[in-house]
Structure formats: C-alpha cells, structure tokens
Symmetry: C2
Subunit: 471 residues, 2 copies
C-alpha cells in the first residue's frame, strides 16, 4: 500500500508533536508515525515522573529541618515507598493522557509502527509505503545499558523501568551522575534508601565551573556516597549485585544505570539519504533549520543528539515543522542556552559556561548562599552562584550555580543575557527584601565594583541617568 | 554644647544607614542620631522575624501534604511554639547584630537620643545642639494601635511585641489584612492557632486586581476565617477579648493589630522648616531627590510615607545621602514598583497594577496554577497570575499575582518591565520544563495571540528574525 503526503513525521514525542502543530497549520495531508508506546519521553519516563518522585523525596527530607524550626515528632515520619511510586505513576498517567490527546483525532493519519527511511522522500512502516515531500524525523532516544550489564536483568534499573517498580530495595547504586543520575540518586537517598553514586568524570550534573562543582559535591556527599573519576564494573553477589571500582566494592540490591541516552537512529535508514554519516551513524543537521544536509529530511529532538532538553526538542520540532511546510524555509535563531538539574541545591547554567570562557579574561561575581539572609531564614543556606561578565563593558555572558531556587534565578539571568544586558542594567531592577535574588545582586555588585563607575548610582543605569541641578 | 557638621542623619534604620554609607564616602564630619533601640525595623520587628516565623509555619503546614506524597505519620508532628519563637528571636538577634556593626565604629559621631529639628540647619538632641549644612531625616514608622484599644493592654499585640512573646495562645484575632496582617494571620494559623482575620476593605495584601483578590481570598479562607469589608470593635470578655463586627462576635485570647504604621514625625520639629505641611503634618518631598521643598533637609524611608518597603527605603536613604553631599544634586530615577507579600500563594505586583490601568484598554494574559504542570507535581497548585500589556505594541505594563514562587516571577517581570520589553521579547527566553515559569509563558502567549503576528516564530522575536532561503 502506497500513500502520498506533504509531510511525514516520524515520532510522536515532544519534537514530533511540536512539528505536528506547525504542520497542521499548513496542510491536512500528513501522517505521524510512532513506534509505541505513545506519550513523550518527558511525560512517560523523564521530567514529569522524576520531578514527582523528587517532590515526594524532598517532602520527606524536609523532616530533617523540622526540629530546627521548632517542630517536634519528625522521628515518626515514614516514607511509604509503594505509595510514593503509586502517586508518581498516577500523575505520570495523567500527564501522558494529556499528551495522547494531540494524536487522538488523527484517525489513519496516525500510524503506530516502526518507520524506516527509503531515500529522502519515502518512509516504510511494515507493509505501508509513504511517499512524502518532506520528512521530519523525531524518533527520540533511549537509556544506554552497557551490554555486559544486561545479564543482571532485573537488578538493573533505568529511567524506563524505575517508575514502574512497585517498591524499592534498601540499597541502590546509581551509575552516572549527570543530571538524571544526580536527581535520582538524591531523591532515592532522601526517601531513606542507601545510595552509592558513581561517575567516571570529576564533575556532576554537567557543571563545568570547578568551584560550583565542588560546592555541589560537598552538599550531595552529605546525603549519599559520591565516587567521582572512577570506572566501575558490576559482578554477581549474594542477594544483590556488587559494584567494583579500583580496589573497592559495595553490594547493592539494584543499580540505576544513568550513563547516558542513545539516539534512536540505529534502524532509521539514515544511510539511504546519501549524506555523510559520522562514526556514530549521525548526519550533519543545521540547528537553525533542523535540515539534514541538503535533503528534504529534518532531524529533530533528542534523536539529533544536539540539545537533549525538552524546550530545545520542542523548538527543534517547531523549526522542522515550519521549514517542512514553508515555501521560504528560514533559519531561526536558537534560544540562550539553559540547563537545570532539579537536585538540592539546584544546578543551573545559562549562556556561556565556565568551560566556554577563559575566566581570566572575564569578571566573575560570586555569592555563597550559606550566609545569605533569606536562605538562612528558610534553612536553605547552601550553594554557590557565579556570574561571568565581560571585562570590557560588564555585559553578562553566562552563569553556573548550585543554589537554592536556581531554576528561578536562571530564568532571570536568561532574560538579561538574551537581551545583551550589562551588570549595571540588571542592578537597575528592584531586588526585594528578603529574597534569594538579593544574593544574585551581591554577585552582580562584586562585578560592578571592578568596572568603571557607571553614573552616580545603580539607580540610574548607565544610559538613563537624569541629572538636574537642585540649587 | 554645640557642634557643627556637614551632615546630620536622624535615624539609624534602613534609610538612615543607607544615607550613612553615601555620606561617609564624602565626609567624615557627620553625626547619626538614633532614638534607641538600634537595629532596623526590618531586622528587629519586620521582614526578618516575620519571614522566620513564616518559614517555621510553612514547615509545619507541609505536613498536610505528606500523606498525598506517600509519607506517613504526619499526625505525630507538633509545633513547639516557644521553640519556634525562640528560633525567630535567635535569628533576629543575629540579623540585628549585623546591622549594629554599621554604627559600631563611629564613636561620638553616633548619638543615642531623640532628635528634633530647629529650623533647616539645626538639630537638638537633649542638651546637644548640632548645626548641620544638610540634615537627613529617617526616623521610621511605628505600628498604629487605635487609642480605645490600648486599654486591652497585654491582650493587644503588634509586630513590635509579637516576636517577643514566649508562647502564643490558642485563639488570635488579626485586625488589618494588608501585607503584614495576611502574612502573620496565615503563619499563626499554620502553627495550629485558631485565627480570625478582619479588614475594612474588600481586598487583602494590597491587591487591586479583582480576580487575583478573589483567588487569594479563596486560598486563605481555607486556612482561617476571613472577614472583609467589616468594621470591628473590641470589648472585654471572660478569658479574652471579644471582637465585634455588625451583629457578630468572636472571643479570642489576643488580637494582633495590623491596621497600618504611622510615620514617626510627630515630635520631629517639621513645623520649624517654614514649609507647608498637610493635615497629617507631612511636608512635600521630591521622591527623586528626597528633599523637603527647597530646604537643605531630606526626608527618607518609612517616615515620608511614600514607599514603605525595605528596598525603597534603602534607595531613599541612598538618594538623600548622595544629594546631601553633592555639589550638584541630582534627580535619580526610581525603580520599577514592586511589592511582595510572603503568604501562600505568594502575592506580588510589579509595574502598573490593575487599579493604575483601564484594563479594557489593555491586553490581559492569565494563568491559573491549579492545573499547571510543575505546580501540580509539587502540590503547590493554587493561584492566579495576570499580566497587563499594551494593546498597541504588546509592551509589558504590569502584573498582579497570587501564585506559587511569585517572588521569583516578580523579579523576572520587573526586569522585562524595567527594560520596556514586549510580550514577544519575553517569549524569546528559554522556559525550562517543568517550571512554574511555563505558567507565566501561558499568560504571555494568551496576550501574544491578540497581537499582530510578530515574525514567523517566537524564536525570532520581532526585530531579530533572520531569514535565509534554503533552496
């Protein structure tokens, strides 16, 4: 059976659905093909269930501060792990059901199955052949489990399986301490599970700034054991699995493998496009058009390996959707880079990271939240924030932080950076008292002191100073 | 004894100390006169102890969500009120001690006593007469207790006395539901005290937008009784004091009076300045110079009755300090207006409020946090946010909200408003997933849909769209 469409979308995840929205504005003649299950990575196994688990874990962990506040009886609190997981799934199902609505009304334009390219204008799904003017590929990504570890079968967890567990054992190893590993290691630990975390690199949660990395390490190591810069292997053990590193070992009940995600491009037929593929089988994609080389095929979302974050995947899909249906395809400007890890203290980076810059050439402002007023009031007094600015004009370049409310401070700094503002511009806003934003102001003022004076007062900003003689 | 100085500062609170910093940069020949106690209103009896009490109350209140999260045993938690208050005072004392350092090293340039003007260049403190080229008045404000209620003596609390209590009774009335009244009523209620709140107006916490006011009312009324638009009176009762309104009455153990603060200008000698005073005895003050009329006297901080907020008082002091020591006095631009009430959901307004605008002439975007993703995950799913924008060009005019993390959303919007940005400009930033900022984005998009399309995509912004043909 052969059909002919304007656009074929492969994948009904975040990027595919974003593309779908734009495609539907221009044409009814499309198909969207998805290999079940339906529901985005984010809603099914990513952001939403993880943040729900973290919320429960933080609610339980808050008992450790109660006595300080003057609240008694915290020792009676118990985490009912099966109930915690049940709430995670209940909310997860609700978020997934919201996502499913996007393809509900599509009838036979929604095809369940594995799609494979056959050249730049043809997709094959089982016995169906679809000729398409444009093809948007958004097949997503999957957690990697090293082949030799597969034999430990149900002692191995990934984010695909973790939230399906009915209960959790008392000892869990977490291998890989990127964003997902750190979030889950801390959440599991806060639920009362003995957690051992490992990473081959020296820094966690994608932090590149050494001081921020150290601050985060100190905070997390108070909650679970953290082993950085180690190569681990697994071995059989009585009643568990043994994690080995160097001369050391520890036995745990299960291991959460969070060593990364693999783009789902293995059986996608990219080799039929007659474009160069790199050693991982990946073609070159223009991030401003999502187009693969000079073809009529677009590669969006986690599957292109460029920015595996929801808002970027959604932008990818949008850009692909616009360009796959546009007479005049366009290059769209990408957003200011931002990433957040929802651990405590929260980790965030915006704009340029320390590793993108020569810090010797920058002005760096810093605030330590251990002595910040509002942070102390709320007993959230840990964490460090650093801001990088141009030595020439004080323009804001980027920030890294492991700090309370980092997710909020990050959005504020994203706006400042997106608007090419300077430290002086940002100091113009009211910083309310007592807020964590006042900590950010301390860091900004540290930079401002290194810059030539800008007018008489930060009330005036550099351009706006209104001077009028009084007498 | 007569001395002669360049500048005399009256009041060592937030505004006076801010002025001191600027004065010290220019001259050593100054005095600062303060009627004890030392320590700012904020640190002693305002922002800091109130936020500390709120933090404890919220920590205890969080038990009501534990069961939903799957955490058991919440029924065993008890608020140890004396311990809660002890922590409030302990942290309060620490914040106050930080403030005291500002005047520690001043020797006899720091005078404890009540200062009274004698004309525009003379201050009298007990038997000391100080001739001053410039005088900065920053005597602060005090809680108002209506005269007839004074007879209830220790059954009456104000924020001056609340934090000094060793314990709290089981029934408290809160009269006045402005920012302070709402914060304290909710905190006391969350600590397990039966709270009855009253206000003569129809809206709480300074909200002017009717929908936001209603959303806050609904949230707060779930926690304590709220009586709006009522005039109350007090009467003697067995074991307590009776609050009467209309035909109704309730007996409580104590009453927190939060009906406002009075500027401390009664015995300040303003009448010796030969400038017009209004019926409250207040002179006209230029908010951009803090100068009283054409005199050499400045009136800064809560005492001028203009913007009784810490950051504004601090700016007042700074402006007065700059101008009292400057050869060329200047008018400084004030910051974008912002106010925050730290209740739950948090209340905030930035820029123009609903009452400043004709909303029929504006575009209004709205988000209800009861169904917002991240808010649901954290069980913070209540509240409403409204953004007001120009119908002509989508520029952001202001916002009011009663919403989770309002303090953070307010700072982001303050930057956007301060920079005269449009809805499209703000939609350019990354909105991370899942965050409460995505709720803000929903409100922005609601406005954007009413505006003429701005380029092909919010990725591009209105000015920055980069178009390049692909093929």
């Amino acid at each position: 059976m052969t059909s002919k469409v304007d656009v074929a979308i492969v994948g009904a995840g975040t990027a595919g659905l974003a593309a779908l929205r734009d495609v539907r504005r221009k044409t009814d003649n499309f198909v969207i093909i998805n290999k079940p299950p339906y529901g985005t990575t984010c809603a099914r196994v990513g952001c939403m269930p993880s943040k729900t688990l973290i919320a429960a874990a933080n609610a339980f962990h808050a008992r450790t501060l109660l006595d300080t506040f003057g609240i008694r009886g915290a020792e009676h609190l118990k985490a009912d792990i099966p109930a915690v997981l049940e709430r995670v799934r209940w909310l997860r199902d609700d978020f997934v059901s919201g996502v499913l609505k996007a393809t509900d009304d599509l009838g036979d334009r929604n095809i369940a199955g594995h799609a494979r390219l056959d050249g730049a204008n043809r997709v094959v799904v089982d016995d169906q052949v679809i000729e398409a003017d444009r093809i948007i590929l958004a097949p997503g990504s999957s957690p990697v489990v090293p082949k030799p570890w597969e034999k430990f079968s149900d002692r191995i967890l990934t984010t695909d399986t973790l939230f399906e567990e009915q209960d959790l054992p008392s000892r869990i190893g977490v291998i890989g301490l990127g964003a997902i590993g750190v979030e889950m290691a801390q959440a599991l630990s806060r639920l009362g599970i003995e957690v051992h975390g490992f990473d081959g690199s020296k820094q966690m949660a994608g932090i590149s700034d050494e001081k921020i990395a150290k601050a985060l390490h100190q905070s997390l190591a108070r909650e679970f054991t953290v082993h950085l810069g180690v190569e681990v292997d697994l071995a059989e053990a009585d009643n568990g699995v043994e994690i080995r590193w160097g001369e050391k070992k520890v036995v745990v009940d299960k291991v959460l493998v969070a060593v990364g995600r693999r783009q789902n491009v293995q059986d996608l037929g990219l080799e039929t496009l007659s474009v160069p593929l790199d050693d991982k089988g990946m073609p070159e994609v223009d991030p401003q058009t999502m187009r693969i080389g000079n073809t009529s095929v677009f590669l969006a979302g986690d599957a292109n390996g460029m920015r595996p974050l929801l808002h970027e995947g959604s932008d990818d899909g949008h850009i692909a959707g616009v360009n796959a249906t546009s007479g005049t395809p366009v290059k769209l400007e990408r957003r200011t880079p931002m990433s957040i890890t929802f651990c405590t203290p929260e980790v965030a980076s915006v704009g340029k990271r320390a590793s993108d810059l020569d810090l010797e050439d920058c002005l760096v402002g810093e605030v330590d939240f251990s002595s910040q007023g509002r942070a102390r009031v709320m007993q959230k007094n840990e964490g460090l924030l650093r801001i990088f600015a141009s030595r020439e004009d004080g323009s804001l370049l980027g920030t890294e932080m492991a700090a309370p409310a980092a997710e909020h401070l990050a959005h504020l700094l994203a706006l400042a950076i997106d608007q090419n503002l300077t430290v002086h511009d940002l100091l113009r806003i009211p910083f309310y008292h007592p807020t964590l934003e006042e900590g950010l102001r301390s860091a900004l003022r540290e930079i401002a002191r290194e810059l030539p004076p800008c007018g008489i007062s930060d009330l005036a900003g550099c351009a706006a100073l209104e001077v009028e003689a009084l007498e």
